[in-house]
Amino acid sequence: MTNPTPAPIPPSTPDTTADATADATATRTTAISIRNLKKSFGSNEVLKDISLEVATGEVVCVIGPSGSGKSTLLRCVNLLEEPTSGQVFVGADEMTDPDVDLDGVRRRIGMVFQSFNLFPHLTVLENLTVAQTKVLKRSRAQAREVARHNLERVGMAHKEDAYPAQLSGGQQQRVAIARSLSMDPELMLFDEPTSALDPELVGEVLAVMKSLAAEGMTMMIVTHEMAFAREVAHRVVFMDDGYVVEAGTAADVIGNPQEARTRSFLHRVLNPMVIDASEITDEGVADLV
């Protein structure tokens, strides 16, 4: 298996507006490259031949109905799920190569989970320093400095001595983001980061993610927040039933979807109250388009 040759293209400054990015993304190196990825759980094929690239500095939102394989796709990127076939490259490293230094590559990939997954037996500060000292071998003082800096970035500096159980969901998720940032990741994966939050706490997490995007962080985000995707994503990928159905700029995919399945999904998500009870079948909601 050959490593991909990242296209040597001059980097451009990240741009958060969706319109200007269509050509901007084409002028960056590749951060994630997914080729013909398939993943089955037993006889259940969850991902059916996915190919996708994420450029350095790009923000890609993956949307789609539940069970469409979005989270599995994300988890295949850092090999929390082992792909059945196909290749995944992160930078120049092939994650699917059996000889890859998995721990080495993983520490360059931040990941934020739906359920936060903070370490409940450690304080907020310790949550941020433990991997720095044990994995990156930073000194205690240096790790603390980095941790405090990142807590400040997410507005959680005042809670460094608290335990995760003492924080609200939104606060926990911001700490989880800061924990990932403390490893100085090259890219960040977000797996439905706001889905477990009470509605009034969603905003604070999205605001942090937005500021990260503005700083040029490469981000791959599985989300149901359409307004966020529309505003922040350079590119939106719509998945259904294990396939990438449609991909393009946020304005195109969300504002002017070409595929019937995309339109049907967006219609349901953006107008949750318009579904008539008669349309609900054993299979879910019948396609409206």
Binding site: D103, M111, H121, V130, V135, M183
Partner: protein, 274 residues
């Protein structure tokens, strides 16, 4: 008839009043039993049988310096062996490598099913016969450590395994995502949480061990190696009076009650970090 009137009992008492009445009756019965016992028991005979201070005086201080101390030592040795080996067995049982799992399962099932007394016999008499010339390092203490520890490890392995499995899978994922290796994740993230979860069942096992240490006499121990039960029994034989048993029992409680209290405190301390 409305549901409200259905709820009302015929006596006209509210639910709270009935509960109070029930409690009152129970207290009354309890007090009556205590009073009856106090009146009926011949206290002079009773204390002559169970509470003879002259025998207590004769047992002192060796019941503490020998009996209690040895019970503590045997318990601690068996606990350390059981915890160490139990942790190893728990890891083996959760391993992806088949033979490790099979060995751990077989070991746990065997030693949980066989009485501790039998295991102690096998270690004390079986091993020296099977391996002539072999002697346990540490003599009797080493033999007891293995003899009691082997059984304890089988129980603790299952407790630890349950604790590890009770830690949410997301914790492993978060740690591995941060670049921690499998063993680093275990040591830094999973085991500290697992041990907090299993503090109550583990306490149970220590308390059982305290009491199992009374089996040690079967390996043949010198007077200086007597633990509480053997020590008390020895006095029982000499005095033909059960007072030593009461003294011994109090000494066991002097170990287990503070232990329970300590653990309750630990649990409270960890409560906010769960």
């Amino acid at each position: 008839m409305t549901t409200q009137t259905v709820d009302r009992p015929r006596t006209g008492l509210s639910r709270r009043q009935r509960a109070r009445l029930g409690r009152g009756v129970q207290y009354a019965i309890g007090i009556a039993v205590v009073v009856l016992l106090a009146v009926k028991i011949d206290w002079a005979t009773f204390s002559a049988a169970f509470l003879r201070s002259d025998i207590l005086a004769r047992m002192m201080p060796r019941v503490i310096t020998v009996g209690l101390v040895n019970t503590l030592i045997y318990t601690a040795l068996a606990f350390v062996f059981g915890l160490t080996f139990g942790l190893l067995l728990a890891m083996m049982k959760l391993s992806s490598i088949g033979p490790y799992r099979w060995f751990a399962t077989a070991y746990i099932e065997f030693f949980r099913g066989v009485p501790a007394l039998v295991v102690l016999f096998m270690v004390a008499y079986g091993i020296p016969n099977a391996f002539p010339g072999f002697s346990f390092p540490g003599g009797t203490y080493g033999m007891v450590m293995v003899g009691l520890g082997v059984t304890a490890s089988a129980y603790m392995a299952e407790t630890i395994r349950a604790g590890i499995q009770a830690v949410p899978k997301g914790q492993v994922e978060a740690a591995r995502t941060l670049g921690m290796s499998h063993s680093r994740t275990m040591a830094t993230i999973i085991l500290p949480q697992a041990f907090r979860i299993i503090i109550p069942p583990l306490t149970n096992e220590i308390i059982l061990l305290v009491k199992d240490s009374s089996l040690v006499y079967v390996v043949g121990v010198t007077a200086d190696q007597y633990e509480l039960t053997k020590f008390s029994q020895d006095f029982l034989n000499r005095t033909v009076n059960p007072t030593p048993l009461i003294v011994g029992a109090c000494c066991y409680l002097a170990i287990t009650l503070p232990l329970s209290m300590l653990v309750r405190q630990l649990e409270r301390r960890y409560a906010k970090a769960r």
